[in-house]
Symmetry: C2
Subunit: 231 residues, 2 copies
């Protein structure tokens, strides 16, 4: 039910800053559409030797995917060391976009503006070939929208070398901070400056490979760079 | 020994893309200086109920800090739910800067350019008041360099409400990807375009609080915005 509000569980509810929790599933999907990097958390080892590991990774979300709440797709090499621990238990995927620096009137109230989604769950190994190819296309299109349709199909060898995982977006939460600092009144009255500095990810002009200097930049790549503010 | 090369252990060595591992400790510290957000991974619960949790957080690094390899400082509220599990075992802190989109000639070789540090270890609860205040200043200066020196000192109440943790930078690794795609020769010969789109975080002009519109933007905040490309 992609349109249902988010219903964070104890595991995905912030213990601090609960007023920054957002229960709008559309806002979650807007963040998942915009962001580029996910941080995948897993538990490696067991018992006293267990420790967490957090790895940056590409991803794509499909609000209409077959998992409860929609599907968050991850992919990797069949030879990746993290694959066995990921399939042995639950994972946490956190996707954060940084929106600004918050310069408060005291050190204590300094902060950052951000949107951050936290998803906890047990990943499903995607084995249906149609869903696998579609998920991999979505991951490519997350990097450059529309690009997968312009490329040759995945080869059998590529598909055999790649693992695709789907995490249900059922147990997901979204936390958002925006605007300026929340300062103590005495510091405001003291006349100290307070405010924020907006931040955004900006693209430069596309850089062609040495082998591609005589080929025009494809419209999907050019559009991606322009959408991200390339001048 | 901040100048010693990085010596990743099995726990921090990539099982894939090992050629992208960088053993230059100066490069690690350059990344830690530049980035703004860390992703803190911890294990919540135990036994069959254990699951990872990944939370975005501010941080600061001190190459000369008292921990083995230097200190990575984190802070939070004494009331934070993640505090008990963090102190009960090991954590993983991953700090990633996204440098570009890699548009390859096949979906399989699409990628992103990034620098990512992974640190695993047992955090130390910082209880020395001098080190605590210094660490909190470093976290503020990570957001706006030089700002802590311009602010009033932390109050006793603020310090009592804040937990400071130090993670040794001993077990740390750095992985870097740069440049264009690594494509199959047949796809290059087919004349498909391949290249990359550089990305960087860019600041807008500082936005003053309603209460601060008559106060000049302080030079530290203005310099931060300018350094991050505000026009």
């Amino acid at each position: 039910m992609p349109s249902a509000p988010l219903s964070p569980t104890d595991r995905t509810t912030a213990t601090r800053g609960r007023h920054r929790m957002v229960d709008d599933r559309a806002a979650l999907h807007a963040l998942l559409d915009e962001a580029l990097v996910a941080h995948l958390g897993l538990v490696v080892g067991s018992g006293a030797e267990a420790h967490p590991l957090v790895l940056p990774t590409a991803y794509a979300a499909d609000p209409g995917g077959p998992d409860d709440g929609g599907s968050l797709y991850l992919h990797g090499s069949v030879a990746a060391g993290w694959l066995a621990p990921v399939l042995a238990g639950e994972v946490c995927v956190t996707i954060t976009v940084l929106d600004g620096l918050v310069a408060a009137r005291s050190g204590f109230h300094h902060s950052m503006n951000y949107r951050s989604a936290v998803v906890v769950g047990r990943p499903r190994l995607v084995d249906d070939e149609t869903e696998r190819a579609r998920a991999l296309d979505l991951v490519v299109d997350q990097v450059v929208p529309g690009r997968s349709a312009t490329l040759r199909p995945h080869t059998r060898k590529e598909l055999a070398a790649t693992v695709v995982l789907a995490l249900p977006l059922a147990e997901a939460s979204l936390k958002v901070r925006g605007g300026g600092p929340v300062d103590d009144e005495a510091d405001v009255e003291a006349g100290v400056w307070g405010g924020h500095v907006p931040l955004r990810l900006v693209a430069g002009e596309p850089v062609a490979d040495a082998d591609a200097r005589d080929v025009a930049v494809p419209s999907d790549v050019a559009a991606r760079a322009t959408a991200l503010g390339a001048r």
